[in-house]
């Protein structure tokens, strides 16, 4: 039974403009397996699965599902046919109810005499939610009123209620808490009995734990499929980036270091009930990590340090300047990388050059009476583009067309170019592939050695442990505990104080 293939992709190609996202990919999914797909951003994982799940169409190649040719016109058609996908970004619609979300694009099935029978829809929705073990959600609640994780679960229910033969899980777990993950893993496990799962994740550990087989994609090509017996982290990593990663992925040293000079001093920072009386001192050349569960207030603290939210009490002083808003922060040589990169840190329709130059326009005009010439701008932008190895045809390329990793490099470039001394990084490696991640970490180490101060907010415990001189764990808006960098620090200990 397990060796029978349910889905075969042969020689599939797909281009977006000049970018070739898939180049003749072959892929086989067996019945009853959880098949991992892994690869750097832009390697083609999502393109492959979105074609299979009806979100878009291939330019060339064939797909066979259960022995028949397969080319669904829409997500709903694919779902009806037996393939459902849970997408990376939020797939729920905030303005309508949970029930309506569950039957998105499919309200037609409740139509009686031309009208939609809302009560029946709600009933059906309640059943679907209960079926995957979440009964705390009222189907009539507007989806926008739910938190991100619950919305993900709604999406999960939306797919699972069709009892699909194949479920595609596309990097969903990054958004989920421990409880949410457990629900997902349970469902993935149960799906083995009914069919198969394609599981996409950046998290190698996770993928190794969950999957039976895994396929590595790189630059739109299929590199290799690993059987469970062949699972080997280094080999997989090497396949992913096409070369062997050198030893230290994170920082090499294990001792906390910093210059004596204090660059950032925050006292009694209070933002509503999200952040309550936090004190923080960051020195030059120091990386301070802030971790915790997603709602512990760490993101809000990061915003507060940068002056992006109004403080209800306390103050933040950087380089002797009190930070009351973003302008002051930037003037005080601070930089901020938001966790929502596309919506908060980039102007997607603008060019790389426009984005990188945006924080340094005053610098660019300095000494010329404010005059900004294209030549000066090109020179200004060329530095970070080279330093960060941003992959683009030229600095005029529109940022929206870049891959996630390159986008994040542009954001970093913006702050490096203008000489920021204090950087607030909120989930700087979210949605970024290993290669870029490593580049970011190296950059952080370099900045540290240059005497810059870095506050890194992150949900990834390993990254915090790997990079930080000091680590603050937040819980309910306050700092629960502070850890110093050291070889004896264990993840267990930290997670303990988070919960």
């Amino acid at each position: 039974m397990t060796s029978e293939s349910v889905l075969t992709v042969t020689d599939m190609s797909k281009s977006f403009g000049v970018v070739r996202a898939l180049k003749g990919v072959d892929f086989e999914l067996r019945d009853g397996e959880v098949h991992g797909l892994i690869g750097e951003n832009g390697s083609g994982k999502s393109t492959l699965t979105s074609i299979v799940a009806g979100q878009q169409r291939a330019d060339a190649g064939t797909v066979h599902f259960l022995g028949r040719p397969w080319s669904p016109a829409s997500v709903n058609e694919a779902l009806d046919g037996g393939i459902g996908m849970i997408v990376q970004e939020s797939g729920t619609v905030p303005g309508i109810s949970v029930a309506e979300n569950l039957f998105l694009g499919d309200a037609g099935r409740f139509v009686r005499l031309g009208l939609v029978d809302r009560a029946a829809m709600n009933r059906e929705a309640g059943r679907a939610l209960a079926a995957i073990g979440i009964d705390a959600i009222d189907p009539r609640t507007p989806a926008g009123a739910l938190d991100f994780q619950t919305r993900k679960l709604v999406e999960l229910a939306r797919v699972m209620m069709h009892a699909p033969k194949v479920v595609v899980v596309d990097e969903t777990t990054t958004a989920l808490s421990q409880h949410g993950r457990e629900t997902l893993y349970r469902l993935v496990d149960e799906q083995r009995a009914r069919g198969s799962v394609i599981f996409i994740s950046h998290d190698l550990e996770e993928i190794l734990a969950v999957c039976d087989r895994l396929t590595v994609l790189r630059d739109g090509e299929m590199i290799r499929t690993f059987e469970k017996s062949e699972f080997d982290e280094d080999a997989i990593r090497a396949a992913m980036i096409g070369r062997n990663l050198d030893g230290h992925y994170y920082r090499a040293d294990t001792t906390a270091t910093a210059f004596p000079q204090v660059l950032l001093r925050a006292t009694d920072v209070t933002v509503g009930d999200k952040v309550r009386g936090v004190d923080l001192v960051v020195r030059a050349g120091e990386i301070v990590g802030i971790g915790g569960l997603s709602h512990c207030g760490m993101h809000e603290l990061g915003q507060a340090l940068f002056g992006a939210v109004r403080l209800d009490a306390g103050n933040v002083v950087v380089n002797g300047k009190r930070i009351v808003n973003e302008q002051r922060a930037v003037r005080a040589a601070m930089g901020y990388v938001s966790k929502d990169r596309d919506t908060e840190s980039l102007s997607l329709t603008a060019s790389i050059s426009d984005n990188i130059a945006s924080a340094g326009l005053r610098l660019l005009g300095r000494g010329r009476g404010g005059l900004i010439t294209r030549r000066a701008e090109e020179r200004y932008v060329a530095g970070p583009m080279r330093q960060l190895a941003i992959k683009a045809t030229n600095d005029r390329q529109v940022v929206g067309t870049l891959s996630g990793g390159n986008k994040q490099k542009v954001v970093f470039g913006k702050w490096i170019a203008c000489g920021s001394e204090v950087l607030i990084l909120d989930c700087p490696t979210r949605g970024v592939d290993i290669g870029v991640k490593q580049a970011m970490y190296r950059l952080m180490v370099q900045l540290k050695s240059e005497g810059k101060a870095i506050v890194m907010v992150s949900e990834e415990m390993t990254e915090l442990m790997g990079m930080c001189d000091r680590l603050l764990i937040m819980k309910d808006g306050t700092v629960a505990r502070e850890f110093q960098r050291g070889p004896e620090l264990t993840e267990m200990e930290i997670i303990q104080c988070m919960i």
Binding site: V75, A145, Q303
Partner: protein, 354 residues
């Protein structure tokens, strides 16, 4: 549940009832009556009918971030066609109504198709469409008024309170049904806040947009019909955006409708918003305010209400801190798109986006 119901009822009714009380008080202070003529009821219902339908026509597209300058031009052109056909065939009001509404739907479909096929910004598209429809109206009539002042058959419609009440009732029920109860409406509401997600799950966005424009055209054709019937003639010679004035009267009701929609249903909100504005209009007339004073007052009302809407959280926080200190205040301006108030977001975002 009881407290929730109370809150909803209060939120729904506070604006119209408040306006009524204030206006009545103002009028009686000045020794006049808000409903001071025999025709007051007709005026009220007719005002509510035209304002409500215009607000709905504006709002249904604005909700999806589509601002439409061509509402007035659609009203004019559809009634020009309707009246011209009725006069030439001698078919009376039934023909005029049918042709007007049919033309309105057609114009809406054309607007929608132009937008969908050209794929240009809806506001820009509507600029072109406005010029187009105004030009066609002018070309049909040679710029002259289409006049039927003495044709009682055509003018009696807008003189009947009952007919106006029916227009309001039918309009409200139809729009509610279409947008809240049909498959089209479900798709429509999904597209408002989840354009990408809805399209990804197979919702036909283009068809939905064209149909929405068609409904908007139908609503505006009824407005055109009422205004034509009430005036006895149609001014068809407006060129160069002369027709966009009607849109401005619908702004405040749209915002009021959006606000009320958070407590009950936005369609009911448009009715109550239209009612509020019509009452204000009656009060202006009763107090015999000059047009200058009127336009300034209207502007202040609009700005005032928007200030309230845009600063509601701040006001709420201030209010709570005055009344009782403990209160789970929502985070400040830092969380821009949590969409905790989904009904509010689309309405303001539509105009913001402009």
């Amino acid at each position: 549940m009881g407290a929730g119901l109370m809150r909803r009822a209060t939120g729904t009714l506070i604006i119209p009832v408040g306006a009524f009380v204030v206006l009545t008080a103002l009028c009686s202070l000045n020794g006049v009556s808000l409903f001071h003529t025999d025709d007051s009821l007709l005026l009220l219902t007719r005002g509510v009918a035209t304002t409500m339908l215009t607000s709905m026509a504006l709002a249904i597209n604005l909700n999806s971030g589509r601002f439409d300058f061509s509402l007035g031009a659609m009203a004019t052109l559809s009634s020009v066609v309707g009246a011209t056909v009725a006069i030439q065939t001698g078919g009376g009001f039934a023909v005029m109504a049918l042709v007007t509404i049919g033309t309105g739907i057609l114009l809406g479909v054309v607007s929608g198709l132009v937008y969908v096929l050209l794929g240009i910004s809806p506001m820009v598209c509507s600029l072109g469409i406005t010029l187009l429809y105004e030009g066609i109206s002018f070309a049909i009539t040679g710029g002259a008024n289409v006049s039927f002042l003495l044709d009682r058959g055509l003018t009696s419609f807008a003189k009947s309170t009952l007919a106006m009440v029916l227009v309001v009732a039918v309009g409200l029920v139809l729009v509610y049904t279409v947008f809240d109860r049909t498959r089209f409406g479900f798709d429509y509401r999904a597209l408002i806040t989840g354009q990408a997600a809805a399209v990804a799950s197979g919702t036909k966005e283009k068809r939905n947009a064209v149909l929405t424009y068609a409904v908007s055209g139908a609503l505006m054709s009824v407005v055109g019909l009422i205004i034509a019937s009430q005036m006895g003639y149609i001014e068809a010679g407006k060129l160069n955006f002369g027709s966009i004035g009607i849109m401005f009267t619908a702004f405040l009701p749209v915002f009021i409708g959006g606000y009320i929609g958070r407590f009950s249903n936005d369609k009911l909100g448009f009715l109550l918003g239209a009612l509020t504005m019509t009452l204000v209009g009656l009060a202006f007339a009763a107090l015999s305010l000059s047009s200058t004073v009127q336009s300034i007052t209207n502007a202040l009302l609009l700005v005032g209400f928007l200030m309230f809407l845009s600063n509601e959280e701040r006001i709420g926080r201030a209010w709570r801190s005055v009344t009782h200190r403990r209160g789970a205040s929502p985070s400040g301006p830092a969380a821009p798109t949590t969409a905790a108030t989904p009904n509010k977001a689309p309405v303001t975002s539509g105009v913001n986006a402009s």
